[in-house]
Amino acid sequence: MNLQEKINYHFKSFPHRELFQEVSILILTKDGQVLGQLGKVKEGAQAQSLGALMVGMWQASEAVAEMIKVKDNKDTGLNYQDSSSGFFLLQPTEKNPKIFWSFIFENQVNPGKIKNYARQLRAHFNELEILKETKSKATSKEEFLFENVTEEEVDNLFSFAGI
């Protein structure tokens, strides 16, 4: 089972999952890569763009907070919303120090409820530790992944552009 399948599988065991029916959830690394997703955002470029922008926004906010010396209370969030639509970002926790959760919602009667349960959803996945496991698998090896990449291989990578 790959990570996305594991996320889908474990989401089914989250008791309040029906609350997130109209919410798009992206699970992001600290540098904006999409690890997994739930909801309406299309997999691929759209999700990647959202991920990069969300985490970029977080980094910019963190830089501002540092400049004005706002204290990090370890459960900081970042919000952009009106009374019914918008998005928010939850910061990594000690259990998963490199994972951000972003939630995009539309036409919600009670966005506060979504935020409350978003934290529970994050805690649900933290307990399962599936995200932590993936991180260590992906970065544990020190040897080079590709040695001696040839010109031909690079040409093949870019062949879609007719170059």
Binding site: L3, S49, A63, F146
Partner: protein, 196 residues
């Protein structure tokens, strides 16, 4: 930082275009965007000010083909070139895997090139990177203009690491893919997280 997902057989890398203001960084990724099809790239995100100058960054996610069974995805970023956006440039350099320094070849821009390159070195050092160990490619841009510094001079004054370099005129697309392909190759060869 690059992300290698062995389960999905994917590698994700971040490439940053750096250089002085109005040097052609945005023009480079605009050309890449124009030349690639919708299946391979996402939307180009441009965070500009009202004068169309880059305010925060430009961003283009690019899905390339496969290499040795791994799907490759590159995230291309530009930094804002104007001097007073130093804090933004620092942020964008976080977790960078490869750099393209887009130098403006015009004679009167040499000082701006040097200042920008010194800023790059300083910003990387502050974040614990060593510029000599990061994949870096130079593009001598605007070679189509009449009043340009010789390539020899550019090499001597800017490329003290002997990094690969290419002449370019990004406005016509010249040198854009050559530069990107070279840095992509270096980034891929620099990736850690070896095969099982």
């Amino acid at each position: 930082m690059s992300f290698v997902n062995h389960n999905k057989k994917e590698v994700n890398c971040k490439i940053v275009y750096y250089g002085p203001g109005l040097g052609g960084k945005t023009t480079n990724i605009q050309h890449v965007y124009k030349k690639t099809s919708g299946e391979n790239r996402g939307n180009i995100i441009k965070l500009n000010n009202e004068n169309e100058r880059t305010l925060f960054f430009d961003f283009l996610p690019l899905e390339l083909g496969e290499i040795r069974g791994y799907k490759t995805r590159f995230h291309l970023y530009t930094v804002p070139g104007q001097v007073f956006y130093e804090a933004s440039r620092k942020l964008i350099l976080r977790a960078v895997d490869g750099l393209i320094f887009v130098a403006d070849s015009q004679l009167e821009k040499m000082d701006a090139n040097i200042e920008s390159l010194e800023g790059l070195e300083k910003n990387l050092t502050e974040q614990g990177y060593d510029i000599s160990k990061i994949p870096l490619v130079f593009q001598w841009n605007k070679r189509d203009l009449p009043n340009v510094t010789s390539v020899e001079d550019l090499e001597q004054k800017l490329n003290k690491w002997g990094s690969p370099s290419f002449e370019g005129a990004a406005v016509n697309g010249d040198g854009v893919f050559e530069t990107l392909k070279e840095v992509s190759k270096l980034v891929l060869m620099n990736l850690k997280g070896g095969l099982s």
